[in-house]
């Protein structure tokens, strides 16, 4: 059984017990445990079921490479699926549940897949479920979806908060093992600004586990000294529990810090996403041990040899009483030696190599450990837990030589450098024959902004697998200097053995797991090769090798090796798949950072926003602004509210918060000339004190914005834009001024937010302003389409006589800080005049009654002003304006354009939004031809009927003609083509 040893455990604090539960069962561990070590200490070997065959699975590894032991953690709004037990720190009250089984972990019905495994080889679903056609959607796919999928989906809104932060470094060291620490020391002593990240809660990595001696000190002592020195350097920052997730272009590095994962609900953010900009990245993430491929290598109890050491040394947990070690290298002997020293039994070391005469094997033999060379595992015995291994000759086909009873197996297939961060931005790899692994090719690094290499690797991540080489490499990576001396035993080379035994037949190969989580076996890769999925990317995608949540950390190299053997080509020719960020999965909440709820997006508020909030407002998002759509009195529907607002404005007076309208000042000796280019009509001739409606097009000729321009003084114009258009149009102006006409003397300023703007609209508008007092707003002094500065009710105001409703109307701009007070004054002054606020929908109805176009309704990016009967706003005198040439193109200049008209249903009903007018016949693709569409359609309370505008083929030539428009129920409505102005055609009402 797996158990807690009586003494030892460098990371645990036996005086600090912790209780937790697994599948409802209470268990105990210690502060410093991972969930993995605590489960093993409680003899919980079976922890999950695999993806496809639902095979029983146990803990294999001790770090982020763990493919099997994923659990659901927490409950309710703090539930999280697929948490890796090996990287989960134990805390009091932790609740874990195993995944992907029904009805229970011990007895899972899904395991039938395992018995049918022979019929479910890699890629089998491409070959079947084809007939009958409906069965895929209704039968097979639902079954597959339910049986796949690992953990349960969370349901509740996340109770935790997250944040992000920026940091900058000359040198960013990722990995806090001895390589990372040494690199940081060298860099730190040089005065560079250094940032060091370590994904676990401890410095030092594997060195203490492997009992390395450095400069005469134990690894632990050397690490303590190093950390102490680094902590004393002002130019060095150290961060634990921070995983370097991805390296992006120009030295951008993403890292995820776990702040409160191990202390939930303590008020701190759960995680922090770091966005680091580094001049140079030193990737010192170490190496990951590879499994060996033998039959039954996934039975719970089969673990990586190095991970067994981790558990013993770090947590005083022994995965088994009797452990068989199986290896193709010397390193695994450390495990055998350690276990025996800890008083546990190692019945045998099975070394696949013909000879094992390195220092470590000799030491093992000297301790009395039985070492068998040229041996392999023919099969692992046991179902939910190892009970023994059958051994065989590596050279043969798997004839069993003997059966060794054991309750765990420690395997080692050699070590592979962690090359992810090196590779994310294009660093290339070379195959290292001697160590049988891919390692970074220092001559082909990922390049940065300056075209030079921006990442170097250090230590095992470079392929240096012994402590002396690690320290030398790390020193070099950080710029060179004195290399601390590590005492290491001489190790004989690893043998490139991937499959055991060498001649294993199909039965054995179909039980050798490469990708544990996705259930990809040696036989699956061989099948892919046989069927021509020979590119490594094809193999990966066909078999799903390396696509599980561990992203192939354990399986990739073994898979490549099997593929290369199947194709009879060298491993380097096979190549690797692309490494994609993140290194280990990153919480999506952390990627969104602070941006949720109130601060999900900026919400732009006008100075009058709070008033609306407290006055029955129904909001409408307009860009990032929120504008009142209408104000719903108690008992009213939105539609009723809008109708009331229209009627009241037409009858009495309405107040509109128009503060969101864009306001851009354009000034300079060339300002008139500039505006003549920008607008389709002539602005240079606008007299001071007057206003003119103008249109702006893009270079294609399509209408992009409109608004009223006021001439302020000889050199100054003020351009109003649509609410959504202010920033865009200001940027557009600056673009032309800076990049095309940079010799023109024009300055612009976007003063949209400097002013609150209130529209006072309706027959009583003038009376309202007169009540406020301070300015002569009579027709004579301030006629239609003019503006004036003055004081209204004590407020500094600029008053524009413009109208978007057809009524007598003033738009009044006051300094934003006074906007709310001015609005309040208008409301108060208007009380006895029947003043009511109105929203955007009322504005839309009124402008539609007047036949005014709305950018975004009548226009959609393909409409030119000529289509909208706005030719009067296009200057014939100008040689050029933005969009003029575009409008001359054949398709735009054609007489067969759809043009704007008014539409009146014969029965008075409202045409549907977005309705089309079908034309005669069908086109070559069998689609019904069309001859027009509705652009705006409303019920007009003023006219008591539906009114609409639409674009109709040669519309203005067809006045009086009746055409039909679609309805969603499939029927058609008849409507007459009429003038687009439905209300006060002469314009008498606005000009009083």
């Amino acid at each position: 059984m797996s158990t807690r040893l009586a003494c030892g455990g460098r990371l645990i604090d036996r005086r600090a017990p912790r209780t937790f539960s697994f599948n409802g069962k209470k268990m105990r561990g210690f502060l410093g445990d991972t969930l993995a070590s605590a489960l093993l200490a409680n003899d919980q070997m079976l922890v999950g079921r695999s993806f496809k065959y639902h095979r029983p699975r146990g803990i294999v590894a001790a770090g982020p490479e763990e493919p099997n032991a994923l659990v659901g953690l927490g409950t309710g709004s703090r539930f999280e699926p697929n948490q890796r037990v090996t990287t989960t720190e134990l805390f009091d009250g932790l609740t874990a549940t195993s995944q992907n089984h029904w009805p229970s972990l011990e007895f899972d019905v899904g395991v039938v897949n395992n018995y049918a495994a022979r019929f479910l080889p890699g890629g089998f679903y491409y070959k079947t479920f084809i007939h009958p056609r409906f069965a895929w959607k209704h039968v097979f796919e639902p079954i597959i979806r339910r049986s796949a999928g690992l953990g349960k989906a969370p349901i509740d809104r996340d109770a935790d908060r997250y944040e992000q932060a920026y940091d900058f470094a000359d040198i960013l060291v990722i990995g806090g093992g001895i390589a990372g620490l040494q690199a940081a020391l060298v860099a730190g002593r040089s005065g560079a600004r250094v940032l060091v990240l370590e994904q676990t809660a401890h410095w030092g990595g594997r060195a203490p586990v492997d009992e390395v001696e450095i400069d005469g000190l134990t690894a632990g002592e050397w690490i303590d000294n190093a950390v102490q020195e680094l902590e004393g350097m002002e130019n060095v920052t150290l961060r634990l529990r921070t995983m370097g997730a991805g390296v992006y272009d120009h030295g951008y590095v993403l890292a995820e810090e776990k702040i409160a994962d191990h202390s939930p609900a303590d008020g701190r953010p759960r995680k922090r996403l770091w966005r680091i900009r580094a001049a140079k990245v030193i990737a010192a993430q170490g190496a990951i041990e590879r499994p060996l491929s033998f039959a039954g290598n996934d039975v719970p109890g089969v673990m990586l040899a190095g991970s067994v050491r981790d558990f013993v040394v770090n947590h005083a947990v022994a995965p088994g009483d009797r452990t068989v070690v199986v290896t193709n290298n010397d390193d695994a002997y450390r495990t055998a030696i350690l276990l025996v020293e800890a008083g546990l039994s190692v019945p045998a070391v099975l070394d696949a190599r013909p000879v094992a005469d390195g220092e470590l094997p000799r030491r093992a033999r000297a301790m009395g450990i039985r070492v068998e060379t040229g041996r392999a595992i023919a099969a692992v015995k046991g179902g939910k837990r190892v009970t023994g291994v059958a051994t065989c000759a590596q050279a043969g086909q798997g004839a069993v030589l003997e059966t060794v009873a054991c309750d765990s197996v420690a395997m080692s297939g050699g070590w592979s450098p962690v090359v992810h961060l090196w590779s994310h931005c294009g660093g290339k790899l070379i195959w290292d024959e001697a160590n049988a692994h891919f390692r970074p090719d220092p001559d082909r690094p990922p390049t940065g902004q300056d075209g030079q290499g921006m990442v170097v690797t250090a230590g095992s991540a470079s392929g240096a697998l012994t402590a002396d080489a690690v320290l030398a490499d790390a020193t070099q990576a950080a710029g060179g200097g004195n290399v601390p001396q590590a005492t290491v035993p001489q190790e004989a080379p690893v043998a490139a053995i991937w499959v055991m035994p060498q001649g294993a037949g199909p039965d054995l190969r179909a039980k050798m797991w490469l990708d544990y989580q996705n259930d990809v076996k040696v036989s699956d890769v061989q099948l892919a090769a046989r069927e021509g999925y020979t590119s490594v990317e094809h193999t990966k995608r066909y078999t799903t090798l390396g696509m599980a949540t561990d992203q192939g950390k354990l399986s990739n190299i073994n898979g490549l090796a099997v593929l290369s053997q199947a194709l009879s080509i060298d491993i380097p020719q096979v190549g690797t798949t692309t490494f994609r960020p993140p290194y280990t999965p990153v919480t999506i909440g952390a990627l969104a950072g602070e941006a949720r709820d109130e601060i999900f997006q900026p919400l732009r508020r006008t100075p009058i926003h709070e008033w609306h909030e407290t006055h029955d407002v129904e909001w409408e998002p307009v860009g990032l602004w929120r504008r009142p759509y209408c104000y719903r009195h108690p008992g009213e529907t939105s539609h009723q509210a809008v109708m009331r607002e229209v009627s009241n404005t037409r009858k009495n007076v309405g107040l509109l918060d128009a503060s969101t309208l864009g306001k851009i000042i354009v000034k300079g000796p060339d300002a008139g000339r500039f505006l003549d280019m920008l607008y389709t009509n002539m602005m240079s001739t606008l007299p001071v004190g007057k206003c003119r409606y103008g249109l702006m097009c893009n270079e294609q000729g399509f209408l992009s914005d409109d608004g009223v321009v006021a001439r302020i003084d000889d050199e100054t114009w003020l351009c109003h834009t649509t609410s959504g258009g202010a920033d865009r149009i200001h940027a557009w102006m600056e673009d032309w001024l800076q990049c095309e006409w940079w010799d023109w003397q024009v300055f612009t300023a976007n003063v949209t937010e400097q002013f609150a703007q209130v529209a006072v609209v309706g027959p009583n508008a003038r009376k309202l302003l007169e009540k406020l007092g301070g300015m002569d707003v009579s027709k004579e002094t301030l006629p239609f389409m003019q503006w004036q500065d003055g004081t209204l009710g004590g407020f500094r105001a600029r008053v524009y006589r413009i109208s978007f409703s057809g009524e007598l109307s003033y738009e009044i701009a006051v300094p934003a800080n006074e906007g709310r007070a001015f609005w309040d004054a208008c409301v108060a002054a208007g009380a006895e005049l029947g003043a009511m606020p109105y929203g955007t929908e009322c504005l839309h109805v009124m402008r539609a009654e007047k036949g005014f176009i709305m950018i975004g309704d009548e226009t959609d990016g393909t409409v030119i002003p000529q289509d909208l009967n706005l030719a009067w706003a296009i200057s014939k005198k100008k040689a050029d304006y933005l969009g003029k040439r575009g409008q001359e193109r054949a398709f735009l200049a054609s007489p067969d354009r759809w043009k704007l008209v008014g539409l009146e249903t014969l029965d008075g009903s409202v045409l549907e939004d977005g309705a089309y007018a079908p034309g005669e016949g069908r086109n070559a693709n069998g689609q019904r031809n069309t001859q027009g569409r509705v652009t705006s359609t409303y019920h007009s309370p003023t006219l008591g009927r539906g009114i609409a505008m639409g674009l109709v083929l040669r519309g203005p030539e067809r006045m009086g003609e009746v055409i039909e428009f679609t309805k969603l129920d499939g029927t058609l409505t008849k409507a007459k083509i009429v003038d687009q102005v439905f209300y006060d055609k002469e314009g008498a009402k606005q000009d009083v």
């Binding site: 590119s535 054949a890 398709f891």
Partner: protein
């Protein structure tokens, strides 16, 4: 070609699956072919397939620089829909959708087409009007779509938050026939079917030049030597400009990075595809259980297949607002692809200034869903030398005339 079936699997299971043949051959190129297609992605392979199936032209080589299906075919978020606003788009995407519906049977390869339904959320009044317009247009185009209210949205997508707070769900444009397919399988299925017709799929073969005589294409230079042809189809999304330059013309195309990501797999929680354009995010759940999420496009030219990370953050923020439960999921893997963007974001299926040379490109962010229709239309263009009705509107000269096919006008995006 051995037919795939459950019986074939059972038979093979008895002999450890040793009897399966190669899905497609890997021949050396011949000196010349009737047609050379550059690019063995979905569009290129589909073009070859329909040239064979519809026009009996099988003396074809499909040349691929890397591995087949390794470009955008293998990098997209696999959404399939045809609820487009403009007639030409609706026609070709609906053709594609109809072909997808029978593709597994047609190719005898399960491409896992899954018509689980697709929603495009309306979160502003403006979007509501835009999608209503699309429904009206679709009805006339013979594309069945419908407008559904927020309650129905919630019923279809229980994990959605329809009450805002910032952008409440006002309804959605719903296409029941929309869905997803297994992207790699589409390329593999077409490749297998092409190979079975005797066509050559030549991988690891890069085109380095285009040869012509008297304004007529005669072949291509490749890393495997010269390959002659009577007709040439260029179907290389992301690198169209490069190959066009070899053929001597420029395209109204820019190449940019588009990104996507998947979460770790979880048990089924969302059975439809959801697109939310106001907040720029879209999401579906794969058969493996991963939430497949699409992000935005970089605004600058880029060939690195990486893209800028802030787009991922923007997308995820938006999706957490819409689907709060994803906050505690984890991003497993993110990647990028290179997309061709044309002046109106609609594709080109067109003759070119070089006689006998045809181009199919510019699918922007929406190419996967078009594959069968695109191949169908391109095959007709290549076979006849003139576009059929599906391709006619997508000719290159529309830019000169100002005749845009602009889908963005209905607040839609082309994913």
């Amino acid at each position: 070609m051995r037919r795939y079936s459950v019986f074939a699997i059972a038979r093979e299971a008895m002999r450890h699956h040793t009897g399966w043949e190669r899905a497609w051959a890997s021949p050396e190129p011949r000196a010349s072919y009737d047609v050379v297609i550059v690019g063995a992605g979905g569009h290129g392979l589909a073009t070859a397939y329909y040239l064979g199936k519809n026009f009996g032209i099988t003396n074809i080589a499909v040349i691929e620089k890397g591995w087949l299906g390794g470009g955008n075919t293998g990098r997209n978020t696999t959404i399939i829909r045809s609820n487009y606003l403009q007639d030409p788009s609706a026609a070709i995407y609906d053709k594609a959708l109809s072909l997808y519906e029978n593709l597994s049977q047609d190719l005898n390869y399960n491409v896992m087409f899954s018509p689980r339904g697709l929603l495009m959320l309306a979160q502003t009044h403006h979007e509501v009007r835009g999608y209503l317009r699309t429904v009206h247009a679709n009805n006339l185009q013979g594309v069945k779509t419908e407008w559904i209210g927020p309650e129905k949205v919630k019923e279809l997508v229980p994990i959605i938050n329809i009450h805002g707070p910032r952008y409440p769900i006002l309804g959605a444009l719903y296409q029941e026939r929309g869905g997803t397919a297994r992207h790699d399988a589409v390329a593999w299925g077409y490749a297998r079917a092409c190979s079975a017709m005797g066509m050559h799929i030549i991988q690891q073969c890069e085109v380095t030049g285009v040869r012509s005589e008297g304004g007529q294409v005669t072949g291509v230079e490749t890393t495997k030597g010269h390959i002659g042809c009577k007709k040439l189809g260029i179907v290389v999304a992301g690198h169209s400009g490069q190959v066009a330059a070899m053929a001597g013309f420029r395209l109204p195309v820019e190449s940019m990075a588009l990104q996507a990501l998947v979460s770790e797999p979880i048990k089924p929680c969302m059975d439809v595809v959801v697109m939310a354009n106001t907040v720029h995010g879209y999401m579906s759940q794969s058969d493996k259980g991963e939430m497949v999420i699409g992000g935005g496009t970089d605004g600058f030219n880029n060939y690195t297949q990486r893209g800028s990370f802030h787009h991922i953050e923007e997308t995820l923020r938006a999706l957490i607002e819409t689907f709060p439960m994803i906050s505690r999921l984890k991003m497993l893997r993110q990647w990028g692809g290179i997309v061709d963007m044309t002046g109106d974001r609609s594709p080109l299926i067109s003759k070119t200034p070089l006689a006998g040379c045809f181009i199919n490109c510019g699918w922007g962010t929406g190419g996967f869903k078009a594959i069968p229709g695109s191949g169908w239309a391109m095959a007709e263009l290549v076979a006849k030398g003139e576009p059929g009705p599906l391709a006619a509107e997508f000719s290159i000269d529309r830019f000169k005339e100002g005749r845009f096919i602009d889908e963005s006008v209905a607040a839609g995006v082309a994913h």
